[in-house]
């Protein structure tokens, strides 16, 4: 059965409804807890196994040795000297990153953390290369 202008009553109804869009830049966007945002790094947990570098599909992550290394703990009498724990930095290239969070999943020490940070666009290229110490 053909009914012309079937959609008309629906259109009239929608005139009195609130807009479906959200005013994002002025209103805060709703983020679900599972959201994969910028990756943060905790240097004291990192053991430098480079697993994250190996799984990254976009080659966005580097784990170099830190410029300043902590001193070795003071030797205890009668025991062999303990080597200093190496300290690592993390360089995240935000323009390369595809935000898949595979590195977070693979990290054995949970040194990489997924944050809810997503407003990462910048006109300054240096801002896109984050050096976590």
């Amino acid at each position: 059965m053909k009914k012309p202008a079937r959609v008309f009553s629906e259109v009239i109804k929608h005139l009195f409804k609130k807009p479906a869009t959200c005013g994002y830049p002025f209103e805060k966007a709703h983020i679900y807890p599972n959201f994969r945002g910028r990756i943060a790094f905790e240097s004291d947990k990192c053991i430098g196994c480079q697993m994250c570098v190996r799984v990254c599909p976009a080659k966005a992550i580097e784990i170099p040795l830190s410029a300043e290394q902590p001193a070795a703990p003071a030797p205890v009498e009668g025991q062999p000297p303990v080597a200093a724990k190496k300290k690592f930095d993390c360089i995240m290239k935000l323009d390369h990153c595809v935000y898949c969070a595979q590195c977070v999943e693979v990290c054995p020490k949970k040194a990489l953390i997924m944050t809810q940070d997503f407003e990462l666009a910048s006109v300054d290229k240096k801002q896109l290369r984050r050096h976590y110490k």
């Binding site: 009914k3 012309p4 079937r6 959609v7 479906a20 599972n34 599909p57 976009a58």
Partner: protein, 397 residues
């Protein structure tokens, strides 16, 4: 009347992605059409050979923005088959859930695009607004709206909580109500029928001959669906109807997609209510044993085929993707012939084309270091020779 040939695309307001159609026109009527591919080639298959299996997951996901789950699931089924890995039942159920949510979002998107091409922009606005509901479901479950990254080798990455389940069911209930309204609208609104009936005719015998897949084939009355023909994931346990329509035109494709939405909602609820308990992933070694594997999958647009060859390292030796749009493009050329120039955007949109899925072919000779274009005759000769070497003779055909 003299014939003229005009190019439609690669840059054209009616096309969402770059692709070229050469149309031979006699006045306003199309007497011949050829499809030229290759404007969206990104070298993904070659790139896949230089990445490990786990890195490839995120590359394959980006073959297409709409069917990102379809491509990864097909790829991962191949990898898991080669690795002889037993994927947990719960992971398979979650993959099925995502596959159906993806089908819902793709079909709603298509309904909007079809409305837009018909000049029925009210429909476009409403369906895209409602599509946000299913995108919210996907974002809530996986974290992202488009590239869900839910698959991992050996299972899935995220589990589903009771709270998330309730959220999805609430949104699906709203969508069921809306979709029933759209189905009524499509069947009763005379402008929809006037614009789509008898446009882009594809008789069943031509659809079979040209290898049409998915909703395009089903709208020509061909009951062809991988979910029914060769059930994968947990489709053999689900209760759903195979939707076909026999008008062979754009109207039929619209009805098939709209009714498929209803079936998908049913399946989503069924999967969520009977989610098996257990782990969501198992460990799979980085290196995959040598072997070859082919798998197919019913993507929202039709049958998606992946071929994978492993050589014992942690990187694949060869990956080949046959996206559904490539199978349907031959039918587009037929559908346009005899039609009117003004119908072309609607006919092209009716197969739900995804050119970024399709464009992966390049003929390049590494020894000579140059590109070469093969004609139809040469390609035919090459393929006959190749099959002869395997012991199959096609010379008589």
């Amino acid at each position: 009347m003299s014939k003229i040939t005009i190019p439609l695309g690669p840059q054209h307001p009616a096309l969402k992605e770059p692709e070229n159609f050469m149309l031979v026109l006699e006045g306003e009527q199309i007497t011949g059409a050829t499809v030229n591919l290759g404007y969206n080639h990104r070298g993904m298959e070659k790139a896949a050979e230089n990445r490990t299996y786990i890195q490839n997951l995120y590359l394959i996901e980006r073959v297409c923005g709409i069917c990102s789950h379809s491509h990864t699931t097909t790829y991962i089924t191949n990898v898991e088959e080669l690795a002889k890995c037993e994927t947990p039942k719960r992971a398979l159920a979650i993959r099925t859930l995502f596959a159906e949510l993806e089908r819902v979002h793709s079909h709603l998107l298509w309904l909007g695009v079809a409305g837009y091409e018909m000049g029925f922009e009210t429909l476009f606005m409403y369906t895209w607004r409602d599509r946000e509901q299913v995108l919210d479901c996907l974002e809530m479950l996986s974290g992202n709206r488009v590239h869900y990254s839910i698959n991992t080798i050996g299972g899935v990455r995220r589990d589903i909580s009771a709270e998330q389940k309730a959220g999805v069911i609430k949104r699906i209930d709203y969508l069921i109500e809306r979709t029933n309204y759209y189905i009524k609208l499509a069947l009763e609104e005379p402008t929809v029928a006037a614009r789509t009936a008898n446009v882009g005719k594809l008789p069943p015998e031509v659809a079979i001959e040209r290898g049409a897949v998915g909703p395009t084939a089903r709208a020509s009355g061909i009951a062809r669906d991988v979910r029914k023909d060769e059930p994968y994931l947990i489709y053999n346990e689900l209760d759903f109807k195979l939707i076909t329509h026999n008008t062979n035109d754009v109207f039929g494709r619209l009805v098939v997609r709209a009714l498929e939405l209803v079936e998908s909602y049913k399946m989503i609820k069924e999967v969520l209510n009977n989610l098996p308990e257990g782990p969501i992933a198992v460990k799979v070694p980085m290196r995959i044993a040598p072997g070859e594997c082919v798998n197919h999958y019913e993507a929202p647009r039709g049958e998606d085929i992946h071929y994978l060859k492993a050589n014992g390292t942690d990187k694949p030796e060869r990956l080949k993707v046959r996206a559904p749009t490539l199978a349907n493009l031959q039918s587009v050329a037929y559908m346009m012939e005899g039609g009117w120039l003004a119908d072309v955007p609607l006919v092209i949109a009716a197969i739900d084309p995804c050119m970024s899925c399709t464009d992966r072919a390049v003929v390049w000779d590494p020894k000579k270091g140059r590109k070469q274009v093969y004609g139809w005759e040469e390609l035919r000769k090459l393929s006959i020779e190749q099959y002869k070497r395997r012991g199959v003779d096609f010379t008589r055909l």
